[in-house]
Symmetry: C2
Subunit: 181 residues, 2 copies
């Protein structure tokens, strides 16, 4: 399966700390390989994500402070494609856009923004595909989650995270964890 890295655009340092943390943790839990907080730096988010990776395992890159423009340029230069999640794009339920993304066979940079993304995000200079997780306004965190779940065909939810110190044993009731220190 193709690798996916999530680029979060439009983070506002005070206001969005919890939401962006959720986007980053959802990216990791649902199968993405890494996360870029573009055009912003936020040490609290970095600390939270690194702590989760340290404890719960797996490989997951975290970067911040790089401009979206230079990251997109490098990504394309290395042969990757760019997918922009937006309510205005092709509906992933009613179109074949997900198949077309898979058929490229290329690594995906997933742009996750907000309502006010730069107009360029929609252009072919930036995005190879504009994908809508439904054409209603909702949440970049929710849209990202559904996109990843469909892209990875659900398999990401049963993935083993290597070198985990903490692991949940799923059960019908209660909370069971194994902790290896």
């Amino acid at each position: 399966m193709q690798k996916i890295v999530v680029l979060r655009w439009g983070h506002r340092v005070q206001r969005d700390v919890r939401l962006t943390t959720h986007v980053a943790l959802a990216a990791r839990a649902l199968g993405a390989s890494g996360f870029l907080l573009a055009d912003a730096r936020d040490e609290r988010i970095k600390a939270t994500v690194e702590k989760v990776v340290e404890s719960w395992g797996g490989e997951f890159s975290f970067e911040m402070g790089i401009s979206w423009k230079s990251f997109v340029r490098e990504w394309k230069a290395k042969g990757g494609i760019v997918v922009h999640l937006t309510a205005y794009g092709e509906n992933m339920q009613t179109s074949n856009v997900l198949d077309r993304i898979r058929n490229t066979g290329k690594e995906v940079l997933l742009l996750v923004g907000s309502q006010k993304v730069p107009k360029e995000f929609y252009s072919s200079d930036v995005s190879d595909f504009n994908v809508a997780v439904g054409n209603q306004p909702h949440s970049e965190c929710a849209a990202l989650a559904v996109f990843l779940d469909r892209f990875f065909e659900g398999k990401e939810l049963s993935k083993e995270f290597e070198n985990a110190k903490t692991k949940i044993i799923p059960q019908e009731r209660g909370k069971k964890t194994i902790v290896n220190r």
Copy 2:
């Protein structure tokens, strides 16, 4: 298909306004019938959700300030079941929990909390099912989105919202909306 109402627990008025707004809008966009902000009131969230419903259409109830306990009690008295989303629950990918929920044929109250939910949420007094959208820590917004998408088998993304004043026409590039005033 069974009706789903989302109960959001653990909202902190200053800190969580954006996140809870995202949870409520994701609930609406991904097929839930209503939302309860339990044990808290937040007029900004109410205003945002009502504005979205007014403009984008469809039926979606919004309530707040009711205690989770009395809402759950009433829900059960009316014959509904309660599903608690938690990373500790049965993994929806590796277990048959989703089928078992569907097979009840009953309306679902979906409890969406945080790490610190009351212990009772896990007990059979409250939840009929504890469901994990993967057993990794991530986001209640992301977990809700994946749960709804799988429960409604993707059909929610192509649903028409009645009496919409604003509607997006999905397309490969750019932003196209129809506005009826």
